[in-house]
Amino acid sequence: MLRNTVYEASGIGESLLAELLRRGDLELRIMKRTSNNIYCVLGDHLVPIGMAPLVTPFTLSLTPEGGPVKVFIRDDSVILLIIGKPLVYMRPGESKAKISEWRKLAKISSIMGSLIREEIDLYLARLIFKILNYSWPDPGRVIEESQQYLGLGSGSTPSLDDFLAGYITGWGKYLQPKLELRNTTQLSRVLLSEVLKDRDYLIDVATLREYAKGRGDIFEQALRVAAIGGTSGLFMLLGIASALLQKVGARNTLLKLWRAVVNMDDVER
């Protein structure tokens, strides 16, 4: 748990940095404290703060070694002051290149997906399998069918929401889904609304989408996504892998991927 004290940050999202440079300093309202992170609000944007927070254009990464952004944490607010040149988290941008690395992505996603253990998450995985199967090849229908299960799953961002965050990021700007965000947690509602507005909001996930086009080491990036939170990263990874496999028309691989996570007999039941 982050305490009420002074920290330093070395990494900062590009949008938060732009705002900080424009104003000189910033005072942010704390929306939520979790066991490892603080979530603040800047305008209508979420600002994740922590030692290993979700990387977005508004993120602030605290560091025990010290960094160029001073961070004063109080009960209900956080004050930021920039004193040097920080590491900047940039949106990767969406290229029109073809997806070439989907086989590798499916392989690593199936292995990391095998770490899902909670009964509720396995139940959810079975639901997602069914939705992907009978909605093929329509991503709009996947979103539509998933709507009723929003908020389902473990964690402060429920697993189905994490799947959708990865799935929507994976489809990129070519998919303009409509999602009613009422039936979920406050944190997830804000995160998903960011993703709906900005397909590069989840920088690590969006970078994975681009690496699937051969722009970087897809394996290393997939592991970065898998490492997010407890199970959040695992569902985000499965979400983006599902989107990319749909995009390239690899239906068999997509079904195999989900069969790697959930028992086939249970799905058929």
């Binding site: 199936s110 292995i111 990391m112 770490l115 394996f219 490492a227 996570v261 959930v262 028992n263």
Partner: protein, 422 residues
């Protein structure tokens, strides 16, 4: 039809169950040259993943030179070095022959090997005999005092141990090393860098068997004095026991459990149960800890030795919470020791059924390192270790703590995904 997730879970359950249930009986002491079928040409074994002379660290080079002198393959350190650098002497990793040896881990044909047997799963593992701390071969020292001690260990000491263990085999299946380890963890050892209890318990057994073997009094006194003055005597027995346990968990299809973690002073390396004997390596880190007077942290060599087999089997650094006294040897605080054990639960499959931690309400130690969990959490396995001087010929300069580098786990996961992923 099982999902891949279930296949992995089942395989890991089998692997870790076998690791915990394996038995470990000391049954013999044999000369390496007779026991292992690799010495028909000049050959030396070394700790960790494969390495060449050119890439070998100072302490490993020192130990190799010492072993060449011990075998009489050269008369001087310079000529030993010349033979090694020309490739006249073949180098083989210990683990590939089911041998484990601390630090440089150099084993030559005339050295005695402890034989540890697991009748339950039919495996055997071997280790050399522990020389003590300070100026010793395994830390890269090779002067006359080192070679003289090794010669005594290879003759009178080995013969006394062989005669004693023969009595233990006659009486029962041999000396139960796993039982001693279990007891020692309850008595303040962690089983890697602290063996005060383990060596005492071992000595209790050994004394009785030496008497039964009717050894000459002066021999017995020399042996007892040597073991009593070296609390690390039991380390090599514990390591061979750990090896026989991890062997039982090895080669299980789909299993993501780590069955070897080792270092050669330049690289660290691992094996994964479901990936056979393929090495995955990364540069070894430099341990941090308590440095002996007269040396500094700058003198420390990167991590070296097969002794991380203890953590691989669920004790050593993973059982630090059982051993508050260890911090006086490796540094840190008791709080750190407890936190470290607690952290290791996040990357392991289960809690050990027999190795318990009194301070944690007799909870089992974290056991069965899961490759996927290491990469997912970013938590590197932490081990307790000795610190060797980076120059050949000097020896031990301290003891401390080090973590195994993440890159080799990522490399292994990449290969695992290639083999088993959809």
């Amino acid at each position: 039809m099982m999902s891949l997730r279930e296949e992995i879970e089942r395989a890991n359950e089998v692997a870790v169950e076998r690791m915990m249930e394996a038995s470990a009986f000391w049954v013999n002491v044999e000369e390496a040259g007779r026991k292992l079928n690799v010495f028909s040409q000049p050959t030396l074994l070394h700790a960790g993943p494969p390495i060449t002379w050119e890439r070998a660290s100072g302490p490993l080079r020192g130990a190799l030179i010492g072993a060449v002198l011990l075998e009489g393959w050269a008369d001087t350190p310079a000529s030993a070095e010349s033979k090694l650098s020309k490739g006249d002497i073949r180098l083989i990793p210990t683990h590939e022959l089911n041998v484990v040896a601390p630090m440089a881990g150099v084993v030559s044909p005339s050295m005695p090997l402890i034989v540890i047997k697991d009748p339950k799963y039919g495996n055997e593992a071997y280790s050399n005999l522990n020389e003590g701390i300070g100026k010793v071969l395994r830390y890269g020292a090779y002067d006359d005092s080192v070679l003289k001690r090794l010669r005594w260990m290879g003759t009178e000491f080995a013969e006394a141990l062989r005669a004693s263990v023969y009595q233990a085999v006659k009486e029962r299946e041999g000396l139960d090393v796993k039982f001693i380890l279990t007891q020692a963890l309850n008595m303040g050892d962690e089983g890697h860098n602290r063996h005060v209890a383990g060596t005492s318990l071992f000595l209790n057994e050994l004394t009785r068997y030496m008497l039964m073997a009717d050894l000459p009094k002066d021999v017995m006194l020399r042996v007892l004095e040597f073991v009593k003055s070296n609390t690390f005597t039991f380390l090599n027995f514990a390591m061979a026991a750990a090896k026989v346990m991890t062997l039982a968990a090895h080669n299980i299809k789909y299993s993501t459990i780590i069955t070897v973690m080792s270092r050669n002073g330049t690289y660290a390396g691992i094996w994964v149960s479901g990936l056979g004997g393929e090495w995955f390596t990364a540069p070894a880190k430099v341990p941090q800890g308590v440095i002996f007077p007269g040396y500094t942290q700058e003198d420390a060599n990167p991590d070296i030795g097969d002794s991380a087999i203890t953590e691989t089997a669920g004790f050593g650094g993973f059982a630090m919470a059982a051993s508050p006294s260890i911090v006086s040897w490796v540094g840190g605080s008791v709080k750190f020791a407890v936190e470290n054990t607690e952290k290791m639960y996040q990357i392991t499959h289960t809690k050990h059924r027999y190795f318990k931690i009194p301070y944690l309400s007799f909870q089992g130690t974290p056991t069965g390192i899961d490759l996927r969990k290491v990469v997912k959490t970013g938590i590197e396995p932490v081990i307790n270790t000795g610190i060797a001087h980076k120059m050949a010929g000097i020896g031990q300069i301290g003891a401390g703590v080090v973590s195994m580098p993440m890159d080799m786990f990522k490399n292994a996961l990449r290969a695992y995904a290639q083999k088993y992923g959809v």
